[in-house]
Structure formats: C-alpha cells, structure tokens
C-alpha cells in the first residue's frame, strides 16, 4: 500500500479569485491582534489524499501522474505535484 498525495494549484499565470479575495481580506484586517499586511501572493489550491495498491513506488507514481494529469487536474490551467509514500 502507498499513500498518495496530489497537490493541485492554478498556474501562476491564471487569476485565482479565491486567493485574491483571501489576500485582500488578510491585508485589510484591522483587528489589533490580527494584522497580516506582510502577506502577499496568496494562492488557494487543493490537496487530494488517497491510498493506492501497487508493487513499487516508482510504478505507482507513474500511474498517479496520469491520474492527476487526466482527471484531478486540468493541465491547461492547473499544475500539480504527486508524492508517494510507502505504508508498509
């Protein structure tokens, strides 16, 4: 068994409205205890965790790459990373 983690982010060149809204809100915080004006370039993505059957990390990673490329991410607008960790 392997634990697979796929992180999907919008490409840098694509507008991320969620990230932009969050950044504006963080910068605009006026609460004394919470001022986060030092934060910039906020992007919001997603992490997809799975367990996966397989014989070796190398082949699992290859298959999960094609899963990410075809389903979990849209390579036109998103980029992704895949990490595979053995559970045994």
């Amino acid at each position: 068994m392997f634990r697979v983690k796929v992180t999907v982010m919008l490409k840098r060149s694509v507008l991320d409205p969620q990230g932009a809204a969050l950044e504006r809100a963080l910068n605009a915080c006026r609460d004394d205890a919470l001022s986060f004006s030092e934060v910039s370039s906020v992007r919001v993505g997603k992490v997809i965790e799975m367990t996966c059957d397989g014989n070796d990390a190398e082949s699992v990673k290859e298959r999960m790459h094609s899963l990410a490329d075809r389903i979990l991410a849209n390579p036109v607008m998103e980029e992704y990373t895949v990490s595979v960790e053995s559970l045994s």
Partner: protein, 234 residues
C-alpha cells in the same frame, strides 16, 4: 412608542438576501432599515443589525470566514457585546459563528447536497427578544437554502447550549416531533438556530424574511420581526 427601531442591514460582497430582509422588515414592522456597506467602520446607534444570507466573498476559504474580517465586523462585534440585537440569517449565522459571537460551526450538509426547500422547525423558546410573538413549541414552516448548514459543536459545548436554553429553533416534523431524520442538513440535535448567553445575538439557517408576507406563500417568519419590534420600539 418611539417611531419603530433603528435597523441596519450589512451588505457584504456576495450578500443576496439583503433586500429581502429590508422588504420583510418594512412590510412587517414599518421600519425602513439602512443598508450598511461592509467597509463602513463606524456605525450609528442601531437597535438591530441584520447579517443577511448570501455567499459573502464567494464562500471562499470557509463560509463566513472572510466576511468576518470585513471592517464593519469590528463594529458589529463591539455593538453585539454592548447588547445591540444581532440577527444572522443563513450566511449571516455562519459569519456570527466564524466571528466567535455564537459558539459552534456550520459544516457542509450531511448528504453533500445543496438544499433548497421548505422545512419545519419548532420554537424551543418563546421568551427571547426574537421569538416573543411565537408560542412555545409552535411549529413554523420556512425555507432553507444552503450548502453548509450542518451545525456542529463539541459535546461539552452542546450540553452548555442545552443547559443554557440557547437552542431556539430545532428542525422537526410537521407535527412538531423532533427526530434526527428531520434535520435536512444533519445538524447536531436538529439545531436550526441558537442565541448567545446574553440573549441579544441570534443565528439561524432558515430564512424568516422569505416567509413574512401572505404574498410569499406564508407568514411564519414575520414573528421574528414582530418580536424584535415589540422589544425595541418601546
């Protein structure tokens, strides 16, 4: 009797029930509310502030999480702590919870579906500023329109709510019986609305403003506004 009460309706980017609240308030109580843009940072002496339903800031991050940091919220929190009545409906409830003015959190609906339908809920307490025009145990029919209305809180918090009689509305069947299957969103203890310990801040998921005139197919929501008027206009 002074001329009604001074009411403000906060408008966040993405609020979409603000005008419904305005209309309901006017139709039921005669009060002309003032819309308050979320960037305003000082508020006048409102008797009542409504946080309306909608999708503030696109519900990004978590529902209500970004709205909670709008400039106006510092003032809303300050006034709420001073005893000004705050009414949070749907997204407004989510914002109140995120702001820590009400305990607990609203999770994604059990069953994962966005729900848009009429439900029944029971008035658990009629001796509050928001429910004094209802009968104790009265069953109300109201619409819910939300994706994240699954109220949750830890075990200790839940007992505190119950012991403190802070649960004001529970989802129920049309005959008033309360079973878990009557909670459309899976809410803990069928909770549809709660009040803070001091009794001046109420949050609920169903929309009273959408059933406040006969033309809307029901008047079950009008009692909330009538109750507030009876307390605030004397």
């Amino acid at each position: 009797m002074k001329n009604g009460m001074k009411a403000g309706i906060v408008v966040f980017p993405g609020s979409n029930c603000d005008r419904d609240c305005y209309r309901a308030l006017k139709a039921v109580t005669g009060v002309e509310a003032r819309f308050v843009w979320h960037r305003e940072s000082s508020l006048e002496d409102f008797d009542l502030i409504i946080l309306p339903g909608g999708f503030s800031f696109g519900d990004y991050l978590r529902t209500g999480a970004i709205a909670r940091f709008s400039p106006v919220m510092n003032e809303v929190i300050r006034l709420g702590k001073r005893g000004v009545r705050l009414l949070g409906i749907c997204n407004g409830f989510q914002i109140l919870a995120e702001a820590g003015l009400l305990p607990g959190a609203l999770l994604r609906n059990q069953g994962l579906l966005f729900i848009c339908k009429d439900i029944y809920m029971k008035v658990e307490r009629s001796n509050t500023d928001f429910t004094n025009k209802y009968e104790q145990g009265q069953v109300l029919r109201m619409p819910v329109i939300h994706g994240e209305g699954n109220y949750t809180i830890d075990e200790a918090g839940y007992h505190e709510l119950v012991d403190g009689e802070q649960v004001i509305f529970r989802y129920c069947a049309s005959d008033g019986s309360v079973n878990p299957s009557d909670a459309p969103n899976g809410a803990m203890g069928n909770i549809a609305g709660i009040i803070n310990r001091e009794g001046n801040i109420l949050g609920l998921m169903p929309h009273p403003e959408k059933v406040s005139e006969p033309i809307m197919g029901g008047e079950d929501g009008a009692g909330v506004f009538r109750s507030l008027l009876s307390v605030l206009s004397v």
